[in-house]
Symmetry: C2
Subunit: 394 residues, 2 copies
């Protein structure tokens, strides 16, 4: 007889994206499926120099245990950067280093959610946030969004109708999966609603640094009078994802709870990785590096949008993101994106159907396109094949 698992396990299934990603290990496949940064932009030489310096100068310390909170100079750097971008006034005590921003979401679930609590999120939203929160037994209510972000009247209504809302989860910059960006007004209003209702906001911001068009818009957190808005960030998109170093930033009183939970979860993040990033930031101009990323992604987005405009049949709509890694496609309502995917895979093109990004299902006519991970010629080739396949369904 097998052992018995926890109830939550019966609700956990493999991420469709990660399963598709396994198929796309085949280098012949043109894959719009992942959320992978362009590896040719990873600062391999800079990292090599930084980590040799760390080992030479303080090898024993870099390889030893450290505090759960994280490496202080790195925490200070993050606080300073957030302050400069958003006119907040944080210091290292407002920052906890996490294993990517994904871990920040998992810990948020553990800190805030009891079984039956409600999480309000954009609909659609980031798939792995749903997975992380769901493991703590919560229920999701998806709030409709438009081109300016979550619709605030719907948010207020959902808070009223659900007594036990514990988290409002949002991705205001270049949202995953839609690529959309919230307006300043919506950000202000969300901060106000959070404060009035004493509900924590998780402002997930993995892509905010990668804006290649339009103007930066400051964070929801900047407008928060109550200290209830937490923001997450990551070095995955501006540096490299392989190090698994991200953070959560917020009021010290809440961050302290996150530290306690992280302690029991995995003690701390990789000391050496934290020190290497910190050293790299000391030795290099990260903004120059981010500039290169923006330039490359902008070109890739341009070519993706142009190709979709030229080749996708009438009735197909798509977003034109001002930053980040993703665009969002809506097919005519009678077309199921999973059927399109099956046909595309036969022709060695992959993407992620949009249905799984909706916490409460539906919207099977949508799909997500990642444009950061491939050279322009393959983007054009892949989207032309997709256009051709879609035409077969119209």
């Amino acid at each position: 007889m097998p052992v018995r698992f926890a109830k939550r396990i019966s609700n956990t299934k493999a991420s469709e994206i990660r399963e598709i990603l396994k198929i796309t290990q085949d280098p012949e496949i043109i894959s719009f499926a992942g959320g992978l940064p362009a590896p040719e932009l990873f600062p391999v030489d800079g990292i090599k120099k930084a980590d040799a310096a760390v080992l030479d100068e303080s090898g024993m310390m870099a390889l030893q245990y450290t505090t759960t909170e994280g490496y202080d100079p790195l925490r200070t750097w993050i606080a300073d950067r957030l302050n400069r971008k958003n006119a907040t006034s944080m210091d290292k005590d407002n920052i906890l280093i996490t294993h990517g921003s994904q871990q920040a979401l998992d810990i948020a679930g553990k800190v805030f959610l009891d079984e039956g609590d409600v999480v309000l999120c954009e609909s659609p939203t980031y798939l792995a946030a749903i997975t992380a929160f769901r493991s703590y037994g919560c229920r999701f209510v998806g709030i409709p969004t438009d081109d300016d972000g979550m619709i605030m009247s719907d948010l207020r209504k959902a808070i009223k109708e659900n007594g036990n809302v514990k988290i409002i989860y949002v991705i205001p910059n270049f949202q995953n999966p839609t690529g959309r960006t919230w307006s300043l007004e919506r950000r202000k209003e969300l901060a106000k609603i959070s404060s009035e209702n004493c509900i924590a906001v998780i402002e997930d911001d993995p892509y905010g640094e990668i804006r290649f068009a339009g103007e930066d818009i400051i964070s929801v957190q900047s407008f928060d009078p109550a200290g209830n808005v937490l923001s997450t960030g990551t070095f995955s998109k501006i540096f490299c994802p392989g190090f698994r170093i991200g953070w959560i930033a917020g009021d010290e009183r809440i961050i302290k709870k996150f530290v306690l939970v992280k302690q029991g979860t995995d003690l701390q993040c990789n000391t050496f990785a934290q020190m290497t990033i910190s050293k790299y930031l000391e030795q290099n101009d990260i903004d120059e590096h981010i500039g290169k990323i923006k330039e490359t992604y902008r070109k890739r987005r341009d070519v993706a949008v142009r190709t979709m405009r030229e080749t996708f049949p009438e009735g197909v709509r798509f977003t034109e993101p001002e930053g980040g890694l993703f665009a969002w496609v809506e097919l005519p309502e009678n077309i199921n994106a999973r059927d399109v995917l099956m046909k595309c895979l036969e022709r060695k093109v992959a993407f992620v159907p949009g249905g799984s990004f909706f916490p409460n299902g539906g919207h099977e006519n949508t799909l997500r396109i990642n444009f950061s991970n491939m050279p322009e010629d393959r983007i054009v080739k892949g989207l032309r094949i997709m256009a051709d396949v879609i035409k077969g369904f119209v």
Copy 2:
């Protein structure tokens, strides 16, 4: 008004050890408190060579996302080593790479525990395992132990009396905190009990490789006919803890659930760290390196045991571990180890009182001594001060 936290948060408090460790950052303090390996034994040069090779040969891959399961060559190495040590027959699919074995415990909690479930464990046991499991709302029943491990009649009784036992958690080699090692017979019997009752065993084995006296005893997992015993291990004690790389090994059907849960928790472990360790293992003889660690720790244990024997007053008992990092001290029952700690801290000596290692409290006359982290002269000096302080209480 502040946000509301999950119920579990009110039960979470800072680890006493981690709090004591903060005090012991003062380099003047002679600290027996941590569980830190000796940093002077970290293979700094070997790591430098390995990571430069990884960046040169496959930098883009090392810095990119990888699979949740972990880096295949490292998984294979772990499976092979476990097979050689324990006569099991595992391959990479039996291994999930985790952020230290601590994360393996946290994921085990998430995989197995619903609120109200019971975890059976040695009493005393590893503090941070209690923290990890407790966050999933379980209850602990501590099973009495003697010099051969958990007392099996008590274990059987506890299983009968508690209908909802989901995990039996044990550390059979050089246990934390007692330093004791289970006999072969107890291991066999635990595997049998697990199989008969369909209860998962978590065999936590961070120290098994560090045996400096006596003969290796094979794992509980080797005797498991049902595939219900999971073992955890780590590179923290044989390589370095700063990388946060450990693993859980077990039947593929259970490991798959662990993979799903890890996916939602933090996607994957540091790609670069996994590849660096794998490269290091290829370029170096790890057994030679472990030999140096054993030699150093054996000397430190010898000097610690000798000093305690010579200086501790009558009525104080202590273990003489055959491996690992810890010895366990029992003071006369009327002495509270926390009072002893306060006096010791005044004289710049630290250790961890034993009470917090007991899941259901009590045993305030016990304490744990770490002997791996300091040179011999400081061990002697520190234990003499402790002896002096203890004499003031007798």
